[in-house]
Symmetry: C2
Subunit: 359 residues, 2 copies
């Protein structure tokens, strides 16, 4: 691949990209331009993705390191975003240990036999990343060799992965999951403890192979009240964050409709907290406390609406952040598949051109 | 119907139930017990509803005043809630003026030809409630004759109704709706202005026939950022609230994931703001400001989880409100169809028995 040798144009780039604006922003340190990447930057919004994706399931594509590497690199090349994010899925570890699930196009993860009883704990053995997900590690290896900028590894947070395993399919209200929390708290915690171990093993192996940062996706945590989050979800996300504390890389914690949870998301040990478009960054900063960076928070529908709407909204995000060095520009949720990728490229240019960082 | 003659056990009940605990709580006045009702208290959670509902669409049922009256009364009889809410739907006015829509079971409102262009404005003529929705007014008349407690009338807020008409079906992200806002703001405001007129006409006619309070459902307002809400939604909800100011009855304003919008929901002119379970009532009270009552905010999944979970969570809601007189106990969103109605009855008993009101 001709594109990706490490260049010197990012300054004194170390192996872990410690001097890269993305990493420095994660740590709230001064840097020379506002870093930007997009959740779901790889995928259906890109014609070059649709051209190579083939007809298999996403789990088939993830199991093909050459394909996953290329899919991961496509948006980096096209948009010049400041970080790549591994092309994978939060249910990969559970799938790899044989829990029995598929990802159905247009639906999402579907589980053959949902997790409902104590007996189901036996279906959640520990993950051995080298043996169970060698394809993920080979993809990370290839990407690290190609990339001149940070690679973000990721995993699903215990609550959100549990919600898929318990419900058996994507759910709007997570009612069965919550019933298990409320009515069988020991089983709930046992489930989440195993899912925390899966996330830790997967993330540690991605870090060992060269990921420069990790993101813990707790996409549906915002369905919980602050009290529910504290009791049923926070201990398990904290376990994941704590286990990675010594790795020395930034840990990003993401969810949507988490306005009331931002302080708790930070308190799990995150270095960076994702913010959706519902909470202005200036307000989010009050809630996470000092020393925590923020990632976000452009409304993804503004991209779909076109370059004028996206430009106006992106400028509002920059103005609201007011040059704080602890900011990684991103959407508040993933890129919508029908988005025009040229609008995304234009937003990257705008952020790099107009974003300011106070020193 | 043997049940429903006005009784004297609520004290000095006037025609408009001004002394009823529900109305007094809406006004933040002292009263003798915490009032409670449930959004979607009528409907699929009740076996007596399933027994009489028949096989027609919900729009057919709404067009049958005897049936709608009975469906509205069922949960009042069974649960002893403090208010009835008219059995209807937020798309009834648009349907009644011939916009062309159906409500598909398991899906929601579906529009034959979605609203997309200036030409579509001609499809939104004014509502003449007596001519267009005589069945709604007959239902209100029957209910007012039967009930010994307040009847809540309702309408959809312009933003939420517009999202159905523009998307053509229920949407998670409201992307087409937002594209119209961003890219054709005059058309957006023209659409919402007509929908505000529909809501005003419908609500005023319900009040004229005896509704004692109204609720404006802006269920999906929480998909908007504070800035988007202020620019694109608030002016139209304010128009509705202002038009009803002289009616002298409480105006309730409801949405979900509206934590960042609570102050703006109050500022439209609402007397009561609905709060979902994501924001503790004590925090919500700071956001709406003094003089505004709150309605909520039990997580509906706790009802589904059973009496123990619901009891614990209901006590937390009462404790968090701490006896403030401006509180109507409710769920944070509608009753889930699979809920056991006996749990709902038990929560009404609990609120009436354990709820305290500071004087």
């Amino acid at each position: 691949m001709g594109w990706g040798r490490r260049s010197d144009n990012l300054g004194d780039v170390s192996g872990a990209f410690d001097d890269h604006p993305f990493i420095r922003a994660c740590r709230g340190l001064p840097h020379d331009r506002v870093p930007v990447w997009f959740m779901r930057q790889a995928g259906r919004s890109l014609p070059e993705y649709r051209a190579i994706r083939g007809t298999g399931t996403i789990l088939d594509a993830i199991a093909d390191p050459d394909l996953s590497t290329e899919i991961t690199l496509q948006p980096v090349r096209r948009h010049n975003v400041d970080a790549a994010i591994l092309y994978s899925d939060i249910v990969v570890p559970a799938h790899a240990i044989g829990f029995g699930l598929t990802i159905t196009p247009g639906v999402g993860p579907e589980v053959d036999e949902p997790f409902r009883h104590e007996d189901d704990l036996a279906r959640l053995r520990p993950l051995d990343p080298e043996a169970d997900t060698p394809y993920v590690l080979e993809t990370v290896r290839q990407l690290v060799a190609e990339l001149d900028r940070p690679l973000i590894g990721f995993a699903g947070a215990p609550f959100t992965v549990a919600s898929y395993l318990v419900e058996g399919r994507p759910s709007r209200d997570h009612a069965i999951t919550k019933s298990m929390m409320f009515n069988n708290e020991p089983l709930w915690h046992a489930l989440c403890d195993r899912l925390a171990d899966l996330a830790i093993a997967s993330l540690q192996s991605q870090i060992d192979h060269g990921a420069s940062a990790i993101q813990l996706f707790d996409s549906w945590a915002g369905s919980l009240s602050p009290r529910q989050y504290q009791r049923y979800a926070a201990p398990h996300s904290t376990k994941v964050m704590d286990a990675l504390a010594d790795a020395g890389i930034p840990r990003i914690h993401f969810g949507v409709t988490t306005g009331e949870l931002l302080g708790q998301l930070a308190a799990t040990g995150a270095d960076v907290v994702g913010v959706d478009w519902r909470v202005p960054l200036s307000e989010a900063r009050n809630r996470v406390g000092s020393g925590i960076s923020l990632q976000g928070n452009l409304d993804p529908t503004t991209i779909l609406a076109g370059v004028d709407a996206a430009t106006e909204a992106a400028r509002e995000v920059l103005a609201d952040n007011d040059g704080h060095p602890g900011h990684i520009f991103n959407l508040g949720h993933g890129v919508m598949p029908a988005s025009d990728p040229e609008v995304l490229t234009e937003i990257v240019r705008l952020v790099h051109r107009e974003g300011t960082v106070r020193t």
